[in-house]
Symmetry: C2
Subunit: 166 residues, 2 copies
DNA sequence: CCGTATCCTGATAGATACTG
DNA sequence: CAGTATCTATCAGGATACGG
């Protein structure tokens, strides 16, 4: 993938080192494991502080810091809401910017499923309308994309069986 | 994307916490910034130790550790080679497993380009045969994919101008 | 040129304890 | 229930110095 690229090395140096490269910039933001686990939970629909703590298995101070970072980066926003019969709360939601992280998240999952998980992936992602499986792919401009709203997640029954066997 | 998923929460707990979730497993491996920068360099075709140090702007010990980790994880392999007229060396290459990280890498770049970079992305990825731009997308099974070997990278001329203006 | 061991510093996570 | 302050332990990263 790279050969023709090597010739542009002098340009490459200009952005590669320091803050020019987008990958490097993203890592400054998402580098910590906790931050990324928060993003995962947000995609799974977690909205409340204690649920982040419990479901991600991370301490409350760490969650507090991570969520604050994400909010500062405009990945997360807090929305006031009123549960019927209880007092006002805030819930955490992905912003549009945050939802754009879906390909990053899915690509990470897919790679883990393929290379770190033995056998069947624990989760399956399918297209709501058609039921077809969805994956992250490198594709040329013009191909059809699946909208985030059209994605359904299911726990793979085969995996569930595998777990209880242990 | 998540509603139907919430109902399966009891299953979710089983894999979400600890090492069940692929995302969490991947993060155990790729969590550090240096490791990820090494992956970036590998995709750009860097093979020699000192080049990793220079191009990623990371200290030699950090590079040493990161490369060792990646090798242990079967993302990187070292291959002996003989440059004409100099002594034998080893070079670092992505394994097939490592090359599968391409969507992760591209997705990260794209997100950074879209949300952390002001304006034009510094790099452009195109399909070798057709010249069409390529991106990472969430797509249903069956759509055409671009092979890693068919991807060309170029430094965006517009970005280069923007740089020198500063 | 290609690495690695050692030491030191800064960032990050957990435990604990406390407020609205 | 929803956080935050503090304190400490751990770990990644740089500087330095040294062997193949």
């Amino acid at each position: 993938m790279v050969m023709s690229f090597e010739e542009q090395l002098s340009d490459r140096r200009a952005w590669s080192i320091g803050d020019g490269c987008s990958a490097a910039r993203v890592l400054d933001l998402l580098s910590t494991k906790t931050v990324f686990l928060m993003v995962r939970e947000l995609f799974y629909g977690t909205t409340r502080f204690d649920d982040f703590v419990e479901r991600a298995g991370v301490s409350a101070p760490a969650v507090s810091r991570a969520l604050k970072q994400l909010k500062a980066a405009d990945v997360v926003e807090t929305i006031a809401y009123q549960a019927p019969g209880s007092r006002a709360r805030e819930e955490y939601r992905l912003t549009a910017t945050g939802e754009d992280l879906l390909p990053v998240f899915l690509a990470l999952m897919q790679w883990g499923d393929a290379h770190l998980q033995d056998g069947r992936p624990p989760l399956e992602f399918t297209e709501a309308g058609t039921g077809r499986g969805v994956r992250v792919r490198v594709t040329p401009d013009g191909v059809q994309e699946t909208r985030p709203d059209d994605i359904e997640i299911r726990v793979n029954p085969a995996w569930r069986r595998g777990q209880t066997d242990q």
